[in-house]
Amino acid sequence: MENTIKVERAILNLTQDELAQNIGVSRQTINSIEANRYVPSTVLALKLSQIFGKPVNAFFRLTEND
């Protein structure tokens, strides 16, 4: 799974730390999600969707390996 969270975060001018605080996770978790090392749960994906004001599949997409 790939994501464009870094881009969405930049659009809202949020730091990793600010985004992490908004959705109640650690900064390292945001960093891991952005680097595609960790796939978040549906709850976390929906929280991100709420923050970005976009549907989940606007910033998460499946890759050939999935």
Binding site: V25, S26, Q28, T29, N31, P40, V43
Partner: protein, 149 residues
């Protein structure tokens, strides 16, 4: 109470047990207890005289308790990723613990017989050795996984 409600109740109880964690401050308590136990083990071995087998038995228990407290203590910032990493570390600790318990007696037997003609007889590992190994693997893997996340 109908069957559905009983099942929901059981399910809630299961999740309560699965999600049980001690507050973060217990991590420090666990470290102190485990460290003191190790220090006292050295003191007992090299600086104490007389029959101290009872102390050895007590220290083994306190070391396991200290490490268990460290293992079940929450992180400063607990989130779904740390929970996932913790689950992975428990899984690998369990698998390696079983392998260790199966293989280590033969390693001990082989080494002791290679060094001395009348080496030790083949015997199973004690519970302390297996538990400490599993807790060490769990704590080590968890903190390393967290470091490399």
């Amino acid at each position: 109470m109908n069957v559905k409600k009983i099942m929901e109740c059981e399910q809630k109880r299961f999740y309560k047990i699965i999600n049980f964690r001690l507050p973060h401050k217990f991590m420090v308590i666990g470290i102190v207890v485990a460290s003191l136990s190790i220090v006292m083990m050295f003191v007992r071995a090299f600086a104490m005289e007389g029959d101290t087998e009872w102390l050895k038995a007590v220290l083994k228990k306190t070391l396991v308790i200290g490490m268990l407290v460290m293992s079940v203590s929450k992180d400063k910032q607990e989130d779904e990723m740390t929970q996932s990493l913790r689950s992975q570390s428990y899984a690998i600790a369990f698998v390696l613990g079983v392998i260790y318990a199966l293989v280590m007696p033969y390693v001990d037997f082989g080494v002791s017989n290679a060094l001395k003609p009348e080496g030790e007889t083949l015997k199973d590992l004690g519970d302390f050795q297996v538990l400490v190994f599993m807790l060490m693997i769990q704590l080590g893997f968890y903190h390393n996984l967290k470091l490399f996340r």
